[in-house]
Symmetry: C2
Subunit: 320 residues, 2 copies
């Protein structure tokens, strides 16, 4: 059985065909024009999937279902992109439009939620029913699987754990509130935190690496690993911010595993172990409950596609 996955981004759309086990058979992407309409996007995506199938020697009728992950607020039940700042589509009936061009059912969900499902079905949380995936990137995305189901909330507006408040009255957040998890734990926040430390310690290794390598998240990690005090302080504080946000999610969901994705997770064990240690010190009932498991997400660049495939497999089988 073959499933199609579609990962909709701001400037391009990735598609793949994969097996029920999440093995990608073929994949590719196409660039979308600015101001694309829902009908155009659907027509182009459906036709791209058909081309992928044809070139791989797969008949269209072998495709059981199509899963799509898109940014923003997605109402999976209605098959609708409710709002997306990224792809500029409002109240777009994407499922209905896609199904005009395909003979199999189509399912859509928010991409971060789909990515969490992907990790639970194919990735670092394979087979687990309670998973929290936190993606530390430009923002802080959260995707949550509880009791084996995605937490999408009313109208798909849920799973915005990046906008839990972790410091009332603190840093201003793009959402309009202050002190959100995202305002402290995103990769962008780490850059700002490094800026401040560099200004305070212009003679540190951190400051010279910042000047040399540019304003990138790897710099404070490199400085800290080299034993630079300023770098160590930035990373220690950042680890604490990540842990103080995660502790809320963990106390609520008590997941089988916490997965960390996004660019920062490329720091691997060095970062994951520090977060795990801090989190397990402050989690509720640490003396009586098992330790919280923290791991790096596994699906990396294919997270979006395999999340969409997981959605197709899950929803397709449920409907069949």
């Amino acid at each position: 059985m073959i499933y199609a996955g579609v990962d909709v981004g701001g400037m391009s759309i990735k598609c793949c065909l994969a097996t029920e086990e999440g093995k990608i058979i073929t994949k590719g992407s196409f660039v979308t024009k600015e101001g694309i309409t829902c009908a155009e996007m659907a027509e182009q995506t459906a036709s791209y999937i058909k081309t992928l199938a044809k070139n791989a020697g797969i008949e269209e009728k072998e495709i059981v279902s199509v899963g799509m992950g898109t940014p923003g607020t997605v109402d999976g039940k209605k098959g609708m992109i409710v709002y997306s700042n990224n792809i500029k589509l409002d109240h777009a009936p994407i499922v209905k439009e896609m199904e005009k061009h395909l003979s199999c059912p189509v399912f859509v969900e928010n991409d971060a939620n789909a990515a969490a499902l992907g990790e639970a079905v194919f990735g670092a949380a394979k087979g687990l029913k309670n998973v929290v995936l936190v993606t530390l990137g430009t923002g802080v995305g959260t995707g949550i699987v509880a009791n084996g189901q995605m937490i999408t909330g009313m109208g798909g507006a849920g799973a915005e754990g990046g906008h839990m408040v972790i410091k009332m009255g603190g840093e201003k957040c793009s959402c309009g509130n202050r002190g959100c998890f995202e305002a402290y734990a995103s990769a962008s926040a780490l850059l700002k935190q490094t800026d401040k430390m560099v200004a305070r310690h212009p003679d540190s290794l951190l400051a010279s690496l910042w000047a040399e390598k540019g304003r990138v998240g790897i710099v404070p990690f490199d400085a800290a690993k080299a034993g630079d005090k300023a770098g160590e302080t930035v990373i220690r504080n950042y680890v604490n911010y990540v842990a103080q946000g995660l502790v809320g999610l963990v106390n609520i969901f008590r997941p089988d595993v916490v997965l960390i994705g996004g660019g920062i997770s490329n720091q691997g064990d060095y970062f994951i172990k520090k977060v795990s240690r801090r989190l397990n010190r402050i989690v509720y009932g640490s003396s009586i409950n098992d330790r919280v498991k923290v791991k790096a997400a596994e699906l990396k660049n294919d997270a979006g596609l395999l999340g969409a495939v997981a959605l197709a497999v899950r929803a397709g089988n449920a409907r069949a």
Copy 2:
């Protein structure tokens, strides 16, 4: 069809028999001795249920199932009270023990989770699938229903939303961390906040009411309603604390309704409306999403019993 509900407290156990619609037919409670064992508790509870039934002219075989809500960490799947500070039972196989004395299945869950299920099945959130219940009492309890299912977490250790951090480095919390929602939004925290304000404004109406009526949560509300500045400040800050914690839960779950229970909820609309207004100002995507509904919980004194009955109805029917 008749269902039994059991609400286990630190010093007594309440039991009831009720219909599938949550109408209580008969109820009562008995005091438990200190150091009661799991086997004793099960034997006494089962025998009390039988007596209730007999006195109400109900045959034991008419009871379809029994639901129990107990404080602490409860592993519903294993039918086990894992840990409870309140009733001093560890790893207690309460379901197995109860079923020795009864001919119907028994189900157990944490009492706050059961209460949320009760509101979703019989109370203020009747028929809704996504409900967040926050109980503002000695602590801050959270019970969550998402996709129609209770969020219990691994081993039943979840739904401790009172221990989300809302102010890193802030007030010390009983759990060992700092800045938890509970440390700002519990009724106990409100008393401490009032203490501080009274010390700063000894000539306020707040201070004189505090001296006259004693150290009770109603005082700052009464002072605020009477237009006292000190009282107004206490309540404005407290409302903000409640909202800043709720916003995390709402952004994650985007529930159909947020219910507020516990003693503070007796302040009714005066309090609920203020919380709703503040919450809707800071919630994520307030310009595009529907307003978040905030209501007082409805089941009040019977919340524990009806939560247990809801559990019995739900689980009993699922198994039948």
